[in-house]
Amino acid sequence: MDLSVTLCGIEIDNPVIPASGTFGYGYEFAEHYDINCLGTFSFKGTTREPRFGNPTPRIAESAAGMVNAVGLQNPGVDKVISEELPQLKKVFHKPVMANVSGFSVEDYAYTCERLDKEPQVGWLEVNISCPNVHGGGMSFGTDPAAAAEVVRAVKAVTRKPVIMKLTPNVTDITAIARACEDAGADGLSLINTLQAMRIDLKTKKPVLANVTGGLSGPAVFPVALRMVYQVYEAVSIPIVGVGGVSSAEDVIEMMLAGATAVEVGAANLVDPCASRDITAALPGVMEKYGIQNLKDIIGGAHG
């Protein structure tokens, strides 16, 4: 039985990847299990400067999911390189996916250029889809021309594969996907969270201090699946499927829709061992559905 897949030229042992923002910089999960069982993981969204993020409350619950407005809290790329990556190196021996966000094209290029020099980093996952920051983040992911501009700026400063993380908060995600591919992106990951909110009936005001946030969890899985399916038909670069994945069955479904690899997000926050358990369950589920080689099923649902 073969679980390995090749993501933008790098072979990974299995397609399971904890998603950015749900796994920190990895080493804290290594207290709970050997994280080398994962294909890789995408570390916490990193920006040029340190960020505190949004005021609290940053979290609201919803049916089969949650709404967050963390707002890219991170120590900034210099500290990530000097402090977080050395800690990670002790416990993770595979290439890691570096998730990068920014507030200008120059920001993205600056941060990616620094991470390009880090041998631990396998891929750059460029987040042009954060719904919780103002004057950046998602604004680059909702306009094909702006998305393409970020791709070109990042590609100019790195030889590592560049995976653009797309937002679902658009009319036609395939237009953004094609613009990224045309500008030279090596892969796409989708979807980021869906813009959402909750209101507290006691205070009669929004739960989140930021008013709106991003919905994730099993509630968004069918939406993510649909978008992966559509984008698979629109582009020929690899897709990382993200959104509400909570089981090995979900991983298979995402791959059938067209994903080469699959990120697990909110599930990690409910159960610290979720990604490990999903990885461990994959062979059994493959056997149940008569799958010998995971590579063979990528896009298998298409005609």
């Binding site: 796994f23 505190f52 619950e61 409910v270």
Partner: protein, 243 residues
């Protein structure tokens, strides 16, 4: 931190809104007073963080206030049922700086984690005094339990129906060696401003994961951003910034 199934032994109402749940399971995962557990509830996506009132041997005791759908669901649970719990989360209180006569200050359900702290301080030979604040007589709980441990207890009620009329800060004693506080944030802020000397304060925040992964519960501190769930919930008085 340990993820385990605990069995509900008792689930008793102490006041109209506060219940005590006694659970059997690997309670040794709780390594310090002031830690909390994170409980998965059927049909709810996120776990519920609840402070540990007592833990010893294979028995875990939680006091919780019914504040919403999740805690209403807990209040309806019956003995024999099991709960999926992450136990031993957070840093907990440090008893090393307590001195000879530490003061415990609890507001409402914030009294819960002070119980295990009182046990530990008393076992270390300290003279422990507790000030427990409530809105009114019908909300008072655990005064006898703290007394039974050997603490001196002062009760303050906002409506004056029991004990000192006013807030916990209206009942502060003349002298204490150190203080430990847990309660609603306005109370913590008042204690921080008024109580003499140094102390530790335990905070509450809406959490995503409860174990440091999501950055959902961050507070700004003198030492930079800190996660209430992992770096806290207990912070030293000197670290705290109010925003």
């Amino acid at each position: 931190m340990k993820k385990a199934l605990f069995t509900i032994e008792k689930n008793e109402r102490l006041t109209p809104t506060v219940l005590r749940m006694t659970l059997r399971g690997p309670a040794e995962a709780v390594t310090a007073p002031g830690q909390f557990v994170d409980i998965a509830l059927p049909g709810r996506f996120l776990r519920r963080p609840i402070s540990v009132c007592d833990a010893g041997g294979d028995t875990l005791t939680l006091l919780y206030k019914v504040v919403g759908g999740g805690t209403e669901q807990m209040a309806a649970m019956v003995p024999g049922g099991t709960l999926d719990i992450l136990a031993g989360l957070g840093n907990g209180f440090d008893t090393a700086p307590a001195g000879e006569s530490p003061l415990l200050i609890g507001g409402g359900i914030g009294a819960a984690p002070l119980y295990l702290l009182a046990k530990k301080l008393l076992a270390e030979g300290k003279r422990v005094r507790a000030i427990l604040g409530f809105n009114g007589a019908n909300e008072v709980f655990y005064v006898d339990e703290f007394k039974a441990l050997g603490c001196g207890v002062t009760v303050a009620t906002a409506d004056g129906s029991v004990g000192v009329k006013g807030f916990v800060t209206d009942a502060l004693p003349e002298e204490h060696s150190y203080y430990y506080a847990c309660g609603p944030e306005p109370m913590l802020r008042a204690v921080w401003a008024k109580a003499a000397g140094s102390g530790q304060l335990s905070f509450e925040e809406r959490m995503g994961c409860g174990f440091g992964a999501c950055m959902g519960c961050t507070r700004q501190t003198v030492n930079g951003p800190k996660r209430v769930c992992k770096d806290g919930p207990v912070f030293r008085k000197e670290e705290i910034l109010w925003t």
